[in-house]
Assembly symmetry: C2
Homo-oligomer: 393 residues x 2
């Protein structure tokens, strides 16, 4: 860890667009060597003197580094701005929060839409297939660069939870605590199936141009929109769809007996599809879904998940949502059992929610309270200052 001796970065009171290009190539899980590798990242708050207050956020499939700041394309608040900020659950007055766009992403980190300097063209399908391990390996290099030997807490939902699991498995000495939310230790057959539908929808679009759409000045909008629509259904529960839309009609009194978006749920899905193509790259969608498909910590460890955590010093807090059918609670329980089996330190909460997988991004007080409790306890164990007392209004 030679880089730990480098001077710590100046505290960053505000959000800033940051980039790091690694000084060495990255050897990927597939065996392929990737170079150059750039990570685009955001930080919030300031690193403390003994560099012990870093919270690493790992983002989900279509998210990015803008965890708590306005998205540069959509103008919307960051995906976890409910949780991350001054005085919030992940209090940026206490913690130095880091979030990097994943390898293979499309918000500035090296991925298929970036230019390969060796050819002067976008990588496209010449980009190597990456894995969750590769994403985490790249993040570890970023922490080296930031002079952070040990993360206080690594947190992520969905694919972010996969990265959390990989961090805890691969770098147990660098992780004080870990919070996988709405996640799993492996992608299920049903999850792979839904991803494959999305990929086939993208590849079926002639504007995908066999992956070369950037060279051809095209965008596979229709295919990517269909992929997003299919995926979006899996993010919501049936009760959530029922409560939100039911069978209500969209701006009309009676059905039109046609193929317009008669129902609100159709209109909503079409909107989700159409807006997604403005902010996401189709090839990135292929690569990142593939990375999730390949993830299986049990299989990598002789088929026994607990082997991945033998002797682990990591404090885990596993959180699931009762109506999440994409990453059902049973997957989280399997993690809990595995850590228990090696006498590890793990707490577990299944949050009662009817909002489905998306609950991890929504205002779910029980989730936020659970996270707050765990963070405060872990901060005490780590010797970090207590949370400032907040008087209820």
């Amino acid at each position: 860890m030679a880089l730990v001796t480098a001077p710590p970065p100046a505290p960053k009171p505000a959000t800033e667009d940051l980039k790091l290009t690694l000084d060495r190539p990255l050897v990927l899980q597939s065996g392929v060597t990737l170079s150059p590798v750039t990570l685009a990242y955001q930080t919030y708050g300031a690193l403390n003197a003994d560099r012990s207050n870093c919270v690493l956020m790992c983002h989900a499939l279509t998210m990015d580094q803008y965890v708590a700041s306005q998205h540069p394309v959509t103008g919307k608040p960051g995906w976890w701005s409910d949780i991350v900020g001054p005085g919030k659950v992940i209090d940026t007055n206490r913690f130095f929060v880091v979030c990097a766009n994943v390898l293979g992403g499309c918000m500035g980190s090296t991925g298929p839409k970036e230019i390969n300097p060796a050819t002067g063209k976008a990588w496209g399908l010449t980009f190597p297939v990456i894995t969750i391990r590769d994403m985490v390996q790249a993040q570890a290099k970023l922490l080296d660069h930031l002079g952070i030997e040990q993360i206080f807490c690594v947190i992520g939902g969905s694919m972010g939870a996969m990265q959390v699991m990989e961090w805890a498995h691969r770098y147990p000495g660098r992780v004080f605590s870990a919070v996988p939310v709405a996640g799993s230790y492996r992608h299920s057959a049903q999850n792979i199936a839904f991803h494959e539908v999305g990929r086939q929808a993208i590849m079926a679009d002639p504007d995908w141009c066999h992956g070369n759409y950037l060279e051809e000045n095209k965008v596979p909008k229709r295919g990517l929109a269909v992929a997003r629509m299919a995926a979006h259904i899996t993010y919501l529960s049936e009760p959530a769809l029922h409560n939100k839309f039911g069978r209500r009609l969209q701006d009309r009194e009676a059905p039109t007996y046609g193929f317009d978006a008669d129902f609100q749920v159709e209109s909503y899905l079409r909107h989700q599809g159409h807006t997604f193509v403005d902010r996401f790259d189709a090839n990135s969608y292929l690569y990142i879904t593939r990375a999730m498909d390949y993830f299986d910590l049990a299989q990598e460890n002789g088929g026994v998940l607990s082997n991945a955590f033998k002797g682990t010093p990591v404090r885990f807090c596993v959180i699931s949502f009762s109506s999440d059918w994409l990453f059902p609670t049973e997957e989280s329980r399997a993690i809990v059992r595995a850590v228990n089996a090696v006498a590890g330190n793990v707490s577990f909460v299944e949050v009662a929610s009817d909002k489905g997988h998306d609950a991890f991004l929504l205002d779910e007080p029980e989730f936020h309270q659970t996270l707050q409790g765990f963070i405060d306890g872990a901060a005490g164990a780590r010797g970090l200052p207590k949370r400032a007392h907040v008087t209820a209004p």
Copy 2:
């Protein structure tokens, strides 16, 4: 019912491709008048002297009239040949089984791929949007033609169950008993959402040609395949996918780190998509999914489902499958409660199965035994001869 006085058709000992063109236009639920209307149908067994032994089968979204005979395109056995045949649960030695391709279908009944005689061209998107009520209305005309005043039993799974519900609601005097299997009284928001994804996938395919692909000598194969893949996932349960495929690789020892079908589940889904386009018409898929979306017996009856069955003489047997998440048991329970609320005659079985929605098409002994028991009881009540004793081998 003038046609009831027509001579009954000659008993049909074997399967035969049959067609009926109605002698009058059909006024659809939308108010549109459709003409001419042809129904392609199959029959099995013979009508008895007092025409009291007819079992009407209603098929699901992508099924057809080949309920118990070899499919003319795929060469596969009929979709319910496990159940329908000599000595089987629906014993064709006892019953006269009728099954018609639905209106809007693509196996010979009037639908978007058939020629509109007024223009000499395929209907395409000029075909009017049809509903479950329209499908059932057309079937009622077929029974008129066959000289059948009352059906002994109307049976169907999935969309077939919707037709069963519509039959019982619309023609209670013509239905002695009704068996909706793995169905509902209305299409849920989640179901509409999945259908909308499929439709958008078809419409996104440039070879769909805005619905005119037949005129253009094209087939929207890629879009229809994606639609089928997405739908197919909803027909299986997560445990079924896990047991059938899990994360096993397809004909390889290690992942290829690419976008080939590394996983068996991907290979299977691609196969489902590719074979579907050989036997199904893309526009039919649009129309039939739309018919399902519009179905809501509660809404049609002032928001109170039991209003649809006030004073019903129909004997119902409602069957669901425990792992069916497309038409969950709760939907069937709502039917049972509604019939109970009007003091109707209803039995209900939730069959324990891990096979998901598809269970209604698979070898599920508890389902078949339930159906056999109900059919035998109802046959007795109707005064039909008892089942021939079958000695166990």
